[in-house]
């Protein structure tokens, strides 16, 4: 047998070579120092890959996933601001999250529309009064929801930054719980922003989510050094500042404006 090809060595390693090829290769590896060394090197490399660490998820992780998932399966309680506009919600069940996402994508993130030529402005057909009113109600509620999320995220981060100060370990279990709650909300808004092409908003929410995840997955008791590391991380990201700026932007949008282009 000639020297083994790289591809055959890989197939052999995973047990995917034909029986005949494998038998011949085994014999060749026994006789050929060079191929045996190459095969050994391949196995070393793949053994090292196997050591790739995956972040730990505790015994309670399944329950956490369920807690995030369950509202989407059963659907939130009908709310006036969307129940009258989406009749299918009554049977939507598991589609609830997608509906919310689509709703937010269409309504919250303002779209760029091509300018209307001056000559056509007079002929533009205004939205029906009921529809326009509905849109405004939706818009307000969504701005409030996102603004509230950002405000609560800001408060949670600021409180964590103010925690500690002594030499004793610090209990951050309440901050951790709060971060867990905020992560799932944040995910929805981030996905929505990304789907709507709002890369800047999605980027801030992505950064926020990473920080929240880090807090949510921290031990409940942090040493002074660990807490300092968390503080340094938050500061280095400048995430509090970014959340405040985004929150201010959203609050400005909470004010109904009749001249804003709506979905």
């Amino acid at each position: 047998m000639n020297h083994a090809t790289e591809e055959l060595l890989v197939l052999h390693h995973y047990g995917d070579a034909d029986a005949g090829e494998s038998g011949a290769l085994e014999q060749h590896l026994h006789d050929c120092d060079s191929c045996r060394a190459r095969f050994k090197e391949l196995r070393r490399a793949l053994d090292a890959v196997s050591a790739l660490e995956v972040p730990e998820r505790g015994e309670g992780y399944g329950a956490e996933v369920w807690a995030r998932l369950q509202p989407a399966l059963s659907g939130p309680k009908p709310r006036r601001w969307w129940s009258f506009s989406v009749p299918s919600l009554a049977f939507a069940g598991g589609l609830a999250v997608l509906l919310v996402t689509a709703f937010v994508a269409g309504q919250y993130w303002p779209r760029q529309q091509p300018p209307v030529p001056a000559g056509q402005q007079a002929t533009a057909v205004p939205a029906a009064p009921d529809t326009a009113a509905t849109e405004r109600v939706r818009e307000r509620v969504l701005y409030l929801a996102v603004g509230d999320h950002l405000e609560r995220s800001n408060v949670a981060l600021v409180e964590l930054m103010n925690a500690g100060g002594g030499a004793q370990p610090v209990d951050i279990s309440s901050e951790r719980e709060r971060a867990r709650d905020l992560v799932s909300e944040n995910r929805l808004y981030r996905q929505t922003a990304a789907d709507a092409g709002e890369a800047g908003v999605a980027a801030v929410l992505d950064e926020l989510e990473r920080v929240l995840m880090e807090i949510a997955n921290s031990p409940s008791q942090l040493t002074v050094q660990d807490l300092q590391r968390v503080h340094d991380h938050i500061e280095s990201q400048g995430i509090i500042f970014k959340v405040r700026v985004l929150g201010d932007t959203v609050r400005q949008r909470e004010v109904p404006r009749t001249d804003r282009v709506i979905g």
Binding site: E6, E41, W66, S74, R187
Partner: protein, 205 residues
């Protein structure tokens, strides 16, 4: 199919939410591991886990138990991750110091003791594996993760990714080549005398 899964799937198909909850709780950790290996970061992995279970919930009534629930669940997860990876530009990680060259600042055979610290060595290897994984194409990454970490057979991988057998093999091979190239400076290739380098702390062969 696992008897417990089979029972819960049947109940969940009949609308028993508690049974679906048991399935979620039983498989979440494994699913997160798979999703993390496919995406390489926690937020994406969390999204994938949630998306996959939502899809499973919606499709549950169509599940006919031709394969195990776990296999089906993992296939859906791979598809969710695959979609996400394809939408995303690659090469997010920092480049790995050249084509198999030495990594800046890392000396695998530190003198004079000859043995770099094992923890630092482990961290370096982890870092290189992560970077190399980030540079795989979505197809290579999914195929490699399913073969290497999940131990799935080639036909199943091909079926999940819509690939012929030869393309499946080739995707895995290309992924392995890239991983080896990235790891060569730290794990070692053929040395000067045609023998592989050793791990720190090991005798050379």
């Amino acid at each position: 199919m696992d008897a417990t899964d089979a029972q819960d799937v049947t109940l969940a198909q009949a609308g028993d939410e508690a049974a679906f909850r048991r399935l979620v709780e039983r498989h979440s950790r494994g699913l997160f591991q798979l999703a993390f290996r496919l995406t390489g970061n926690e937020p994406d992995a969390e999204d994938i886990v949630q998306d996959a279970f939502l899809k499973v919930y919606r499709e549950l009534k169509r599940f006919e138990a031709r394969s195990s629930f776990r296999t089906w669940l993992h296939r859906i997860t791979v598809n969710c991750a695959y979609d996400l990876l394809r939408k995303r530009p690659r090469f997010e990680a920092e480049p790995i110091g050249g084509d198999g060259g030495e990594a800046a600042g890392f000396e695998p055979e530190a003198a004079p003791s000859g043995q770099p610290d094992r923890a630092a060595y482990g961290a370096e290897v982890q870092d290189r594996v992560r970077q190399a994984m980030a540079q795989l194409t979505p197809t290579e990454r999914a195929a490699f993760v399913l073969r290497h970490f999940e131990g799935r057979p080639l036909d199943e991988i091909g079926s999940a990714l819509g690939l012929q057998l030869s393309a499946t093999k080739h995707s895995i091979f290309r992924a392995v080549q890239k991983m080896r190239r990235a790891l060569r400076p730290v794990v070692g290739g053929l040395g000067q005398f045609g023998v592989p380098a050793a791990y720190p702390g090991e005798e050379r062969p």
